[in-house]
């Protein structure tokens, strides 16, 4: 960032940084969950999670000698943790927050972190039976409200990785409907299956993290398809309750391979770009919007 344009850049960053919008929508959802849906999370756990995440981010910033401390990504990750992770122990909440942020700095490949930070922490905590996710905690009202907010976020922020989100949702929901049609189930069943706040958090906030998605749009499209297949297999083949999460984590190590096969432009939060288009696809429509924006 050039010093002479510093102030200009700062104001425009606030306007264009999609993370601010994400923070606002996640916070609102958490408040609604606490007050109306009675999420089984204490205020103490929220404070501990958010604090531990910021401290880890701060410590890592200093240790890795990064130019500036940026609390936004850590806040999004820790808000997602609060929405998803349930545990009886504050120590586990702290551990999850530390793993979330720590993994970004420790598990890296060619300058990008490999795993989605929140996803990795959740998988570790669940696998070690220290905590759990309540996939059924969302009510219909909350889901529809949150869906609108999430879709709104695509429009308002022109999120850089909207193609990833949309592709994943199309594949995942499409396959759920195909399964229902094959089984001869009423369509209320797949509709009921997608009515999960966790699905929206995965699709709009975790899967779309530019730091853990392939750089090129072709890579992202293939990755989205593989992730949907993995998630559905875990859910209906292995009968695992959190198929989405496991799908996300197991497919993460493929990202460096996609980046090698389909190279693209690396993402920078202050300059949202969609990466280089390798092959034109119908999903490139939102990408055009972003070009204009940056």
């Amino acid at each position: 960032m050039e010093t002479d344009k510093k102030n200009d850049v700062r104001t425009s960053t606030i306007r264009r940084d999609p993370r601010l919008y994400q923070i606002a929508s996640l916070s609102t959802l958490l408040l609604y969950g606490l007050l109306v849906l009675r999420f089984e999370i204490s205020i103490r756990q929220i404070i501990v999670t958010l604090t531990a995440a910021q401290l880890t981010q701060y410590a890592a910033t200093r240790l890795c000698k990064l130019p500036a401390f940026d609390p936004k990504s850590a806040l999004i990750s820790s808000l997602s943790l609060c929405l998803l992770l349930r545990t009886d122990s504050l120590a586990v909440a702290t551990l999850a927050a530390v793993i979330t942020i720590g993994s970004k700095f420790v598990i890296r490949w060619k300058g990008k972190h490999v795993f989605n930070p929140t996803g990795l922490a959740l998988v570790i905590v669940i696998a070690s039976q220290l905590g759990w996710i309540s996939p059924g905690q969302w009510g219909q009202v909350a889901w529809f409200g949150f869906l609108i907010v999430c879709l709104g976020s695509l429009v308002v922020t022109r999120a850089a990785r909207a193609d990833m989100t949309l592709a994943f949702l199309c594949f995942y929901i499409g396959l759920l409907f195909v399964r229902a049609l094959w089984l001869g189930d009423p369509l209320t069943i797949p509709l009921h299956q997608i009515e999960s706040g966790a699905l929206l958090i995965f699709a709009f906030f975790m899967i779309s993290d530019p730091k853990t998605t392939p750089d090129s749009s072709t890579g992202r499209l293939i990755h989205a398809l593989l992730m949907s297949l993995a998630a559905l297999y875990m859910q209906f083949g292995l009968f695992m309750p959190n198929g989405l999460l496991w799908g996300l984590i197991t497919c993460a190590p493929l990202v460096p391979i996609f980046d090698r096969v389909f190279p693209g432009v690396r993402y920078d939060w202050s300059r949202p770009t969609a990466g280089q288009k390798s092959i034109p696809t119908p999903l490139s429509i939102p990408l055009q919007l972003q070009r204009r924006f940056s």
């Binding site: 009675r38 501990v48 200093r62 309540s134 059924g136 089984l183 069943i189 009921h192 309750p241």
Partner: protein, 447 residues
């Protein structure tokens, strides 16, 4: 960085050490709400550890046992020794042990007690064939995988290729299958489920001398932790009531595809509810169901099987738990000589669901969580102190009684949807010696 980080870490450590007040239960157990309160109620006990599952199924079938038949989709073909007849008494004990309960407290003489009366309140934090028939079977695509007589039941394990064939086979063999079941059967067939079909063997039943139907138990290994409810919704007139008790090693069980909600607990309700606790619980449950738009699964009890407080019934013995499918307890059983055998490592979750096809399109899917915090649906009666002593504390105590009654009336109205006027009448609030009519400002400036 150090000067900032250290204080913040201290805050974090402080937060970690900050634990909620240790809460203990007090009060005397006075009543429970029976599962018999509900019509068309089925009870299912699922004992599960790793992928090993034992399901005990009981329903309140009332009518001619000749008419009784049940079709349950199961994940695997069951051998004869995977099917067993359970004991209704153990299930009844489990239901009583975990029932929503009523406790009562008695206020003490405020003159002798310097502590504020609110002190007494504590809140707790937290369920073999003729050739012609064989031919017909084959043409319908139905295979009888196994056929057993267990206790008073005739049991068939069927697998099918095609739902209409199965539907036809079942009707031809005297099972009343509601129209529309074929679609659901087809879905289960494609998911490679088998069908456990039970009818009452009248000869066996009269030989055994049982007048009621005993619960059926099946044991199998499968990663599927679910309860098929879809067949039950096909032709049901109105919603059905289901109590699910899970016995697990690790912790509380919840549904993953429906919201699991805790029933309101530890609420103070008017004294007269003591004689109408059954009605209170029924109406309160119905209201909670409506509040959740008829889509919720309700948690009524979550507790470590070793104890209870207050106890609606004694904890189940290791033998009783074993009869309900707890298979991981052999050692505990042998060591418990002389003393009452303690059930170790069993966590009970009791879930209550009112379901119909419109609101519960999918089968119930479960997961076991690592949550071992206790929860019980408990309601409180507080008897006022009726003494005649006179002291400033007694005056203050009498003044706040009316407010307390009013609060209880509102809680009751809010929980059950009962008419508040009627509640006040029942409580005789109007005839109370009253709060003396003194307003807060009058009390402020009185001498």
């Amino acid at each position: 960085m150090r000067p900032v980080v250290i204080p913040v870490f201290m805050v974090l450590v402080g937060l970690l050490l900050w634990s909620p007040d240790a809460s203990a239960f007090c009060g005397f157990y006075v009543g429970k709400a029976d599962t018999q309160l509900f019509n068309k109620a089925s009870e299912v006990v699922i004992a599960r550890a790793a992928n090993k599952t034992v399901i005990t199924m009981a329903n309140d079938f009332q009518g001619d046992v000749k008419e009784f038949a049940m079709v349950v989709p199961v994940p695997t073909v069951l051998e004869k020794d995977q099917i067993h007849i359970g004991e209704a008494t153990a299930l009844k004990h489990l239901a009583d042990y975990s029932a929503p309960r009523l406790v009562e407290y008695f206020d003490e003489n405020p003159c002798r007690l310097a502590l504020p009366e609110s002190r007494a309140m504590d809140l707790m934090s937290k369920l073999a064939e003729a050739p012609a028939r064989l031919e017909r079977q084959r043409s319908l695509g139905v295979t009888v995988e196994a056929q057993y007589t267990v206790g008073e039941y005739d049991i068939l394990i069927l697998s099918a290729k095609e739902s209409h064939g199965l539907e036809t086979w079942l009707s031809e063999n005297g099972y009343k299958i509601p129209s529309g079941a074929a679609q659901v059967l087809r879905s289960y067939i494609k998911q490679n489920m088998k069908f456990f079909v039970a009818k009452v063997n009248l000869t066996e039943q009269s030989n055994l001398g049982f007048t009621h139907l005993r619960p059926l138990q099946i044991a199998f290994e499968s990663p599927k932790f679910m309860l098929p409810i879809r067949l039950g919704t096909v032709n049901a007139d109105g919603p059905q009531e289901l109590f699910i008790y899970t016995l697990t090693k690790q912790g509380r069980v919840e549904t993953t595809n429906y919201r699991t909600i805790r029933l309101p607990d530890a609420q103070e309700i008017p004294l007269y509810v003591k004689d109408a606790f059954g009605n209170f619980y029924k109406d309160m449950f119905s209201r909670q169901v409506k509040r959740e738009n008829e889509r919720g699964v309700f948690l009524e009890y979550a507790w470590d099987m070793n104890w209870c407080d207050p106890c609606a019934a004694n904890p189940l013995s290791a033998d009783e738990l074993r009869s309900l499918g707890v298979f991981w307890q052999e050692h505990a059983r042998r060591t418990g000589k002389g003393v009452m055998p303690q059930a170790q490592n069993v966590f009970l979750t009791r879930l209550h669901v009112r379901y119909d096809a419109a609101h519960f399109p999918e089968d119930l899917m479960f997961q076991e969580t690592s949550d071992r915090s206790n929860f019980q649906a408990r309601y409180i009666l507080r008897h006022p102190w009726m003494g005649t002593d006179d002291c400033p504390a007694a005056t203050a105590y009498r003044q706040q009684l009316r407010e307390r009654y009013e609060r209880q009336a509102q809680t009751l109205a809010n929980l059950t949807g009962w008419n508040i006027g009627e509640i006040r009448k029942q409580m005789k609030i109007a005839s109370l010696p009253a709060a003396e009519g003194k307003k807060w400002y009058q009390r402020l400036w009185e001498d």
